[in-house]
Assembly symmetry: D2
Homo-oligomer: 261 residues x 4
């Protein structure tokens, strides 16, 4: 059979990224409390394609994944990127894995335990050197400072989501759980799957006592990012699904800290 993908291409046009997208796959991730956690990943795998090749070999991406059959640990992404570069004869390999991750939370008063889900992201790019971005989307409560200040009673509040993405130094290591804590401590209140009546009272009053604009949220997370010596780049986005509007309030900060690599 003719290998059409390996034919030469006359258009003189290199392709930045080519590969497979939105592949669903069972994965295993490191869990600070339980060593490992089984979950389900949505995976993208891309390489660059020099101008002289007509196509990449899509099946090889899947073959590489299969070598880690049902045991795809997130810490193997760097190995996978090396294999991608080699087997697909590429200068650059890129892989994105997104997955739900569960953390046991303890309610503030009853101490009842329940599981909260956080959507996580692991993004690796390998050229000469490896570049890794770790991310997590943390749902929280925000209570509006302006509404609280003006109103004789109550204050509008709503579910929000804080998107954190970080790059960290090679000598460092960051748990997903640490990023979640940074986000939850920058909101009016964390969320819980299970709250009893005493807890609901505590959570309500705590949110009222910590009013936060969407601007406050991204700034408070960013201040924590600035203080953490492991982190040298971050992007923080917050979105409030406003309870008094049918649109969102949004804010974002992205920064490369100078003097660190």
């Amino acid at each position: 059979m003719k290998d059409i993908q390996s034919q030469s291409d006359p258009r003189n046009m290199a392709i930045d990224r080519v590969g497979v997208k939105d592949l669903s796959y069972p994965i295993t991730v490191l869990d600070r409390a339980n060593r490992t956690q089984h979950t389900v990943g949505s995976i993208n795998m891309f390489v660059n394609l020099p101008h002289h090749f007509r196509g990449t070999h899509m099946s090889r991406f899947i073959e590489i994944l299969n070598a880690y059959h049902r045991e795809l640990h997130i810490d193997r992404v760097e190995d996978i990127l090396r294999l991608m570069k080699k087997r697909l004869q590429a200068q650059e390999a890129h892989m994105e894995v997104s997955f739900p991750y569960f953390v046991e939370k303890t309610a503030p008063k009853s101490r009842s335990k329940s599981l909260m889900e956080y959507q996580c992201h692991y993004i690796g790019t390998l050229r000469e050197q490896i570049d890794v971005i770790l991310g997590v989307d943390v749902p929280v409560t925000t209570l509006c400072p302006c509404s609280r200040e003006m109103s004789d009673r109550g204050a509008h509040n709503q579910r929000s989501v804080i998107h954190i993405r970080v790059r960290y130094t090679k000598s460092g290591f960051i748990w997903i759980e640490e990023l979640i804590t940074m986000a939850e401590e920058s909101a009016s209140s964390p969320l819980y799957a299970l709250l009893k009546r005493d807890d609901e009272k505590a959570v309500t009053e705590n949110a009222y006592d910590h009013p936060m604009f969407v601007e406050d949220v991204v700034r408070d997370v960013s201040v924590k990012m600035e203080k953490d010596p492991r982190i040298f780049w971050y992007r923080v986005q917050a979105e409030n699904f406003e309870s008094i509007h049918n649109h969102s309030a949004y804010a974002s900060i992205e920064k490369h800290k100078t003097g660190i690599v």
Copy 2:
């Protein structure tokens, strides 16, 4: 050319519904304030298929739509259903149109005007007789009565959506705007695109003064449905995107009022 669709089928299996789904199309709808409103519909069109035909003729659904080129008024759905039955030789024709609809709202204190979007639904089925369901999804604020009762300050609240579907008598007519009002009057507060500082104070205090469980919302809407002599069937669903949880609270009531057709 052979007409494969018209071939006979040996499997002796009638098909309930067959046709086109998720077709995007510009439509025009009746607007109580402005006579008509231009918007974009997502359209499903189905007919039944007797066991002896192998296939329906998909292109005819689009041809029927095209007769109303860029002037598809929602009140022509019954005509379209008649054409579908005839041209596709069916005993039953079914059409669903979903579309965003904009209503001008006035803020409570500043009287500022702004547009709110509501997702609407028009569902028609024609057998011997026509059956029409009118629907609208109304985003609102709900404030938790339990949180308010227990807490020394504040009360958690959130964006919710109320889904209303109704069947009404032939002699009646119901404006989308009437269903929206029924929903908004059954919540802690309506939503607005534009609220100035005085408005935000009023909306916050009004929500605090009208705490509503998801159960209260579906009951209050249902009480209005029971009182309206035009409506003989309704389904009311409410979903709160809880500000203290990462899941929703949900309630639903569906009823066929006896003694009315």
Copy 3:
């Protein structure tokens, strides 16, 4: 503290379903090849609420789930429904669990193995008796018989999804894998995550040799449903994401087989 939810309600309006919706939770399901499989469920839990109670107790739904902490086997749904009825003093309990499920597939020529994901659904309702619906959404290829018949070369084909839902007799048991096979054998071709060049040739020619309208798909699945003595109710829907249109072709059949309970 006052128990607001247990207050009496004057509106005389019973609620069909009330509870928690879209709760994400790690679950374990039976796997024909590997005994069990870890995955992530999206869970709805509802009960009815008599007219005389103002509200249900939302936190109890989560407490019931938590008794199965990280070990929620899908075959415990009936136990959970009994607990829901009891602890929430309801006449009816309802639970829906949707989850991705992975099955190892073998490519037709190279015999290469890879994992395919299928979205599954387990829906239980307990009144006096238990009612269970098992479901799976199976992505497949369909190739258009009309396009093949008319065209001198090629035939348009596309990804489709077949939605199957069944109720089966108490003495029976049905594996998810069996429903998947019924769907895949009713399409032009199954899908695979990994296909080498020989496989791609085989899959292409096999699809060309088995052209299927969306009508053919739902009929062929339904014929299998009729023949299976364990199944007494089924709903089959097929949707083709047409490669020549920007809308879908759709067909559905729903049937309660007579003479079986």
Copy 4:
């Protein structure tokens, strides 16, 4: 009332973007065939916020939009950005508008006319100078060259979407319709809402005669971008919803052409 938003902020942290997101709004856009077209936009409006202000004034974004009440022409985006900068005292204003847009297509043989929907994007950023990105997502058919080459009959094909984004010179002007043509001429076939039997034959054979990898698609579009003297930056992405897999094939090229501003 205290103006909390205008308070000074001690965190010394400037915010890149803050504003409103996912606001639905009726808009009017230029239409090459019909002068203007009514549609519905999803709108984001952001400004930067210097480190010394605590918050932006969210309601002003909506007030600015309202000045164009139900007559928001897409060519007024630059005016809106100037107003945003001024009224929110910002150095930078950013606005994104996404909307469905309908173009009448003529079937290749029957000459039947029907409407195709394309999702469009208009993204403006104003600092000292205005920066505009025009975008459109074009659904097409792609037929696999490898499958065609190897198979004795047929070739797998599927719906794909080509995402084009361009920046063009101030002296130039580009119609959405021109970008759509560039995309459709770079695929195996365009899509149509209405195809009669003769058309379906022509479209099937035409796709078979123009097999395209996802890599071919992004290269062919990019070649057209390179040749167009009005365009000085482009990003082209193509995604095939593979008919033989449950994942997508994907490719992308982004380039700033040298020597042009």
